[in-house]
């Protein structure tokens, strides 16, 4: 059994860990509120953008000549996966969940003998993927230096993707991120951005005819790159809210566990202290009796 001194040291060390996790939780909670607000404020933009594009692509008459960003290259040989993770750890299963989702997708692709290329956004994703998929990672991007998420950063990622698409480096592009649902639930998402998948909303979008100025093609070819940046920006916003939420609940758990541990250790400490006193008393009494 550990000595009294050891126990004392452990209790104080657990207590100071608890202080740290508690502080981290507070910070995460404060940041979460901001991140959540940002994510919610950012939603209208990406939704509107999506709607306009849907309306446009429904209205487009000549599918053959439509921009490739919309329809794809006609092949599905090379897949580009953009895995978006955080730059910092200590946020529970946040990064692991994204990676898990991404890995499932990777395996599916590799099984079908397709070529896999990966871009990681955020350093944690790179750390976790480099062991298994080192030769697939073609680029790693990290925004450690920028304090807040801004559209400019998302645009940079978008441009990289589009540049590579124009060079015919891939046919299909999907992004992976965590969608923020609430503090304890974040859903890892897989979203295909090239070619654009028109989801179920198709029926709800009206069949009104629009007037276009300039013509559809020009609008589309201008809008699609923007849409990619927008989708990435949305993913970044959702991700940051999820990261803070995940960190908050992870740190909350850690704080609680540390509390439990302190309680347990304190009981153990008191017991052994009592046992030592009893032992000493017995020694004194039996010493006195023998006289």
């Amino acid at each position: 059994m550990a000595s009294l001194d050891d126990l004392k040291k452990r209790i104080s060390s657990v207590k100071s860990t608890q202080k740290i996790t508690k502080a981290m939780k507070m910070v995460a909670a404060a940041k979460l509120r901001r991140a959540q607000e940002n994510a919610e404020k950012g939603r209208p933009y990406s939704e509107k953008m999506n709607n306009i594009i849907l309306n446009l692509s429904n209205g487009i008459s000549d599918k053959e000549n439509a921009p490739k960003l919309l329809t794809g290259t006609g092949e599905e040989k090379t897949h580009l996966c953009v895995v978006m993770t955080s730059d910092r750890g200590l946020c529970g299963g946040f990064n692991t969940n994204i990676i898990k989702k991404a890995k499932q997708y990777f395996q599916k692709i590799l099984k079908e003998n397709k070529i896999l290329k990966i871009i990681t956004v955020g350093s944690k994703g790179y750390d976790q993927l480099k062991r298994q998929y080192k030769e697939n990672i073609i680029e790693k991007i990290s925004f450690k230096d920028s304090k807040n998420i801004n559209y400019f950063d998302a645009d940079k990622v978008g441009k990289i993707i589009i540049d590579r698409f124009k060079k015919n480096e891939f046919d299909v592009c999907a992004i992976f991120y965590n969608q923020f649902k609430n503090v304890i639930t974040q859903i890892p998402q897989e979203q295909q951005i090239i070619p654009l998948k028109s989801n179920e909303e198709k029926e709800t979008s009206s069949k009104d005819s629009y007037e276009f100025e300039p013509d559809e093609d020009e609008i589309l070819s201008n809008l699609l790159p923007k849409n990619i940046s927008t989708q990435i920006f949305k993913a970044m916003l959702e991700n940051s809210a999820s990261e803070q939420g995940s960190r908050m609940s992870a740190m909350d758990n850690a704080t609680r566990n540390a509390g439990e541990m302190v309680d347990k250790l304190t009981i153990q400490y008191n017991r052994s202290r009592q046992a030592a006193i009893t032992k000493e008393l017995i020694e004194i009494i039996s010493g006195a009796e023998s006289l």
Binding site: K41, P44, N51, I52, Y210, E211, I219, T230
Partner: protein
């Protein structure tokens, strides 16, 4: 019958402006300025750098945009833009700064004609602002 419709301006970070009671909006569309009144035909267009004017019965607001998309449908006008400034927040110093940045950008070699056109438009629009 009321002559008013709804306008919404959003940028990636937030919903910049939402107003129910505007009577006319003038946007700097790609092929020239375009005034939008109630019951305009559904339209999608681009913006070039310029000023958006939002008129309601009681007031008139001006915003400077660098790019964007407008969609008008069912008396809802949505303007998506990545950079927008409220004219009342802009002063000469800030305008000069933006102009300088744009001029620097236009001297770079690796931009295509369309981009150069947009940048020139932007500089021109900003310089015109300076006059009033």
């Amino acid at each position: 019958m009321s002559e008013e419709f709804k306008v919404e301006i959003v940028n990636p970070e937030k919903s910049f402006l939402s107003k129910e009671n505007v009577t006319e909006v003038v946007v700097p569309a790609f092929e020239g300025e375009m005034g939008i009144l109630k019951d305009h035909i559904s339209i999608i267009s681009f913006l070039k750098p310029g000023i958006i004017k939002v008129y309601s019965k009681s007031e008139e607001n001006k915003y400077f945009v660098e790019d964007g998309i407008v969609e008008f449908k069912d008396n809802n006008l949505s303007i998506l833009t990545s950079s927008i400034y409220n004219m009342s927040d802009l002063d000469r110093n800030k305008i000069d700064q933006i102009v300088k940045e744009a001029e620097k950008e236009s001297t770079e070699d690796n931009i295509d004609d369309q981009k150069r056109y947009l940048i020139d438009q932007k500089i021109e629009a900003l310089k015109n602002l300076n006059l009033n």
